[in-house]
């Protein structure tokens, strides 16, 4: 299977100074500095956006489509993630924000929060009716979490909730509506307004779905600046908001778990915290829990690198918006949406990413491992990054696998013998 045909970050080579900040932060050791430029090993990249966040020279560019792309389509739908609401002042209401999207050129909107309520319903049903359920079940709405497990936590694949995400469901509903209105496929433009580059990748490549229907994925920050300036020109506010607080709450960490309605759950956000929790699960320590909600960005989707507002401020604003809407959208059920529980199931199970495997042949893998260990023993164990690898261990691997010279370590003579 062809994985990752597009990438979630690209490099502005003029701005990159090869400073190793991003390399040291990357949770999957997916960055090397070669010839004074940060190079991403894309088969290891999980799209978390940490490198974008940490780069002091703003050389890391998250991937998204240009807003102007929407004008190529006759019927343009904005798929609005609930984190979008958290960017605006809480004096506004969700209806006004959604009307703002019409004001900047969209013909219709579809709330991801509405779909989220349906996914919550499907999740509750799935957890009730699935035999021999794993403990704990791990959420799959954050694509970086799924990728992280596929790359680093293979033993937890069966713990993943095998249901489609609210964004995927919202896209499907928007497509269905467009077809019902009589538009041809080439006339329909479905655009997700994304808080992060991971969703750009996930929605285009599809996680758990066979044929992604999204046309483009836009930067939340870019759309926000357009909409916020258009709000004052809105004359007629149409009733577009169908989602209740339970759906909107998915914008921040803990929201998804709220909808699952299980007593024994845990929620964690921020890539380092998430990795710590996954290690606990791998060690068999959290089997008393039913559900674990993990989000790669601190605070949840409101913490994505394509957002403008501080995630904690955004979370507070989401709460304010929530006071103005019902708890659950009144007519918002799977049945009313014309769907069945089956429609939420994963169509394909994502495959393990074996990128850390040293060799297909186990004996050869063991020999390589021995070589790596013997190289590693000669290194200073500073993990300084000067050689262009994130740690002495990673450098030893690069020497054995990629054929780099051990002399690329310039601090070998500083090594103190143990």
């Amino acid at each position: 299977m062809e994985r990752k045909t597009i990438h979630s970050v690209t490099l502005d080579t003029d701005k990159c100074r090869g400073c190793v900040s991003c390399m040291r932060r990357c949770p999957t050791e997916a960055i090397r500095v070669r010839n004074k430029k940060a190079k991403v090993l894309y088969d290891r990249c999980i799209g978390c956006g940490e490198c974008v966040r940490v780069c002091p020279h703003h050389a890391k560019i998250p991937a998204f489509d240009s807003f102007d792309m929407i004008h190529k389509y006759k019927y343009k739908v904005a798929i609005v993630a609930p984190s979008f609401y958290g960017q605006f002042k809480s004096q506004y209401d969700i209806n006004l924000i959604l009307n703002g999207l019409l004001a900047v050129g969209f013909d219709d909107v579809e709330e991801v929060a509405k779909a989220a309520e349906l996914v919550s319903e499907a999740t509750r049903e799935w957890m009730k009716n699935t035999q021999d359920i794993k403990h704990p079940i791990i959420n799959t709405a954050c694509p970086t979490i799924v990728e992280l497990i596929l790359v680093r936590f293979h033993g937890l694949i069966d713990n993943l909730l095998p249901l489609q995400t609210p964004a995927d469901v919202a896209i499907k509903l928007a497509y269905k509506k467009a077809k019902e209105k009589g538009y041809k496929d080439e006339e329909i433009g479905i655009f997700f307004i994304s808080p992060c580059p991971a969703k750009v990748l996930a929605l285009k490549n599809g996680i758990g779905i066979k044929s992604p229907l999204v046309t483009g994925v836009l930067s939340m920050a870019e759309v926000y600046y357009k909409v916020v300036t258009a709000l004052s020109q809105i004359k007629e506010v149409k009733p577009l908001n169908k989602a209740g607080f339970l759906g909107v709450a998915w914008a921040s960490s803990g929201g998804e778990a709220l909808g699952v309605n299980k007593e024994k759950y845990l929620e964690a956000s921020g890539i380092e915290n998430v990795i710590a929790v996954l290690k606990e699960i791998e060690n068999g320590k959290l089997e008393n829990l039913d559900f674990v909600e993990l989000n790669a960005c601190t605070g949840g989707c409101v913490g994505g690198v394509l957002t403008v507002e501080n995630p904690f401020v955004a979370k507070a604003k989401i709460r304010e918006f929530g006071k103005k809407i019902p708890c659950i959208g009144s007519t918002n059920t799977i049945k009313n949406a014309g769907l069945t529980y089956k429609d939420f199931d994963w169509e394909v199970v994502p495959t393990i990413n074996d990128v850390f495997k040293l060799d297909e042949n186990r004996i050869k893998a063991m020999q390589k491992l021995e070589q790596i260990e013997s190289i590693y023993a000669k290194l200073p164990h500073f993990d300084c990054g000067v050689c262009g690898a994130p740690s002495c261990k990673a450098f030893a691997e690069d020497v054995v696998i990629e054929g780099f010279s051990i002399d690329d370590c310039t601090r070998m003579d500083e090594r103190t013998t143990e």
Binding site: H154, G155, N283, G284, K285, L358, I363, A365
Partner: protein, 143 residues
């Protein structure tokens, strides 16, 4: 290359809950690099983690010696702690001599040794009161 095995040794520091689990974590990473089945890795990791924690809680630390062969892993955990008085009782699920303060940290559920045995294909425990405990576990890699 010397032989078809990988030999690793780790110091497990006693009473340090922060670093506890680092040896099993490293072994987990190595098994992943060797392409061992993820579910088998998980069993090995849980068993070794429990063993490490036991040494941290009860024995003031110890040493973990790991040998990885083409078809199996052998883990030897050696400590010079207080030893186990009644091995049969210690192997019972839910039995624990961990103190209240240890239990408050979320350890000491009495599942450590039973889990280690359950996840091993071969399990040997030798203990002498006042001298220490040695545990040998081996797990096969299914083809």
């Amino acid at each position: 290359m010397s032989s078809n095995s990988v030999h690793l040794e780790f110091d497990v520091v006693g009473n340090n809950f922060v670093s506890a689990g680092s040896a099993s974590n490293e072994v987990k990473g190595i098994l992943k690099q060797l392409g061992i089945d993820p579910l088998v890795i998980r069993k090995i990791a849980v068993a070794m983690y429990e063993g490490e924690i036991n040494m941290v809680i009860h024995a003031g630390g110890g040493r973990a010696i790991v040998d990885i062969f083409e078809d199996k892993i052998e883990i030897v955990l050696i400590d010079t702690g207080e030893g186990i008085e009644d091995v049969e009782l210690a192997m019972k699920e839910g039995y624990s001599t961990a103190s209240e303060s240890i239990r408050n940290l979320g350890f000491g559920a009495g599942m450590g040794l039973p889990n280690m045995k359950r996840f091993s294909d071969k399990f040997e425990l030798e203990s002498e009161v006042g001298k220490g405990t040695t545990i040998k576990m081996s797990m096969l890699f299914p083809e």
